[in-house]
Symmetry: C2
Subunit: 332 residues, 2 copies
């Protein structure tokens, strides 16, 4: 894949944390413009020894929202589509669902109703439909579902619908000795089976919403973790800085999101000392992807946008700033 090609061109220059570019452009899918220049400038300043904005390597923490920031979240959060498919396949054993929201909307294929299901709503569904499974069975379900599910518009596996420019940004940061984390409202167990392959982000660097699990012995010396019918943590809105503090224990120096659910993560990142980078992806490209912001039930960008403008955080204009949206466009 071409997205791997430029990574090979990056040469980490040892303990100083500087990066030598064997190839001229670490962000080939970003159009030349303010967004690209601000990113490159930030990375250069924070990784140049002696620069007043230099950041010690252990503190180079970068956090990224997932839905709408690293991969496509329209027309439904991918995890909602997963939950919908799980509800449909389990509906015969749950006649009571026909009367109860959000199950009623799902079984009636009420798309408008489905679009209103937020990160918390989908967590409720996932928790309800997976109680009693072991964590391993659940992950296997996710892997199997992703292998066959296709996006309704693009007709491709959901993991093809990651953003090429963001993959390049992740790789640039890692080559610059930043540690990259996902901090998502999505389910932690839904993401971990595939984020390492899709983004190069290992399970232990994924923070997300979760349900309670319980340790149990199913036979002598055979422990399992059973998923309980109870939400444990919602990693969205103010939950994001809380989750960052709980899981990572350090404040990020760079954070990227795309919706109001990311506002507090960006505020928390901005409030630290020294150089800071706060970014939002603004979905402005109805042709190559989707165009939505203040009115969208999925991934609404309203208050966070106003705050970004007021505080001069980067707002990426997908249509203007991205040469390519998805990796599969590179092969054309």
């Amino acid at each position: 894949m071409r997205r791997r090609a430029f990574i090979g061109g990056l040469v980490a220059a040892g303990a100083s944390g500087r990066v030598a570019w064997a190839q001229a452009d670490p962000l080939p899918s970003w159009n030349d413009g303010a967004a690209r220049r601000r990113i490159l400038d930030f990375v250069a300043r924070t990784t140049t020894p002696g620069h007043p904005d230099w950041v010690p390597v252990p503190e180079r923490i970068a956090t990224f929202d997932n839905d709408g920031t690293l991969w496509c979240e329209q027309p439904l959060y991918v995890q909602v589509q997963f939950a919908v498919d799980r509800v449909r396949s389990a509906a015969a054993q749950h006649p009571e669902w026909r009367e109860r929201e959000p199950f009623r909307s799902i079984l009636a294929d009420d798309r408008a109703g489905l679009a209103m299901i937020g990160e918390k709503g989908v967590l409720d569904i996932v928790v309800a439909t997976h109680a009693g499974l072991t964590t391993e069975q659940f992950r296997q379900n996710v892997v199997e579902w992703l292998a066959t599910a296709r996006h309704p518009r693009f007709g491709r596996p959901y993991t093809d619908l990651v953003y090429q420019p963001m993959l390049e940004l992740l790789a640039l940061l890692r080559a610059s000795q930043f540690k990259t984390f996902i901090v998502s409202g999505g389910g932690i167990d839904f993401m971990r089976p595939w984020t390492e392959k899709a983004y190069g982000i290992p399970p232990e660097q994924v923070v997300g919403s979760s349900g309670v699990t319980r340790y149990s012995l199913v036979a002598p010396d055979r422990p399992v973790l059973l998923k309980q019918d109870k939400v444990e943590f919602v990693d969205d809105g103010p939950g994001k800085p809380e989750g960052i503090d709980r899981f990572i224990g350090r404040r990020p120096v760079l954070a990227f999101g795309n919706s109001d659910g990311d506002q507090q993560m960006l505020e928390w990142t901005a409030a630290g000392p020294g150089a800071r980078f706060m970014g939002l992806v603004h979905h402005t490209d109805a042709v190559r992807e989707y165009a939505y912001d203040r009115q969208s039930p999925v991934g609404r960008l309203d208050k966070a946008w106003d705050e970004a403008v007021r505080r001069d955080w980067l707002v990426v204009d997908m249509k203007r700033d991205w040469k390519v949206v998805f990796p599969f466009e590179l092969g054309r």
Copy 2:
């Protein structure tokens, strides 16, 4: 060949600079014997390409209990001593504590009562005495306390009372591309301010018990995380595999503990496929440290010991297996 593999990364492996071996032996503070040989054999097998027990680098996850496994936990868990000092300094504002346990024992200096305070009990105290503080204020309190507090028997800062042989094991594992984590019943916020310096383990690789925090704006654009008077998660016993799954999302291939609170972590580690290493530190050295096991109110080792013997997990005999216990012995 095998030796050379160890030497590679060990030069700068210890964050504190205590572990820097120019010579062939990566475990110089371990006496030659079964414990040392089993560790070296496991590391060699899991890191030799082509060996049937070889483990891919991303899966090289090693988890360590803290109290009694990496540092001294007698005569009281260090965090209990911290909490005791906090309670005493805040007692004037809380007359109701004189009638309420465990505050009564603390204020009456009832050592027997204090020793009975478990990981959950200390968490209750810490949560009660720190509600309303920001996470940053709390960490500052920990740092300040550790700078002046001294161990009642050794007269040294608590961070001097880390186990030299375990520092060497941590460094050996990291040099062998294992990622080392702490998984402790102790408070996550109590550990994170000092584990990087003491063990070379960064905050994002520390799993522990926690209280709820809440995101709050104290002024425009000035967010804080406020500690609430509510326990969130107890990372002890069955909570350890639950915490490992939540925070790390992978099963360890090596786990080390010292008490019954670590039993489920070892069981969970043992239940995975391929090569596994489960270890317990048995405190057998009343002269250099302490001798305790089945009857001890602090760090009881009873059921986990029986299981370790039955399943042939390593039980380190501190007196027999460790040439040196604490780093300060090296300077003599």
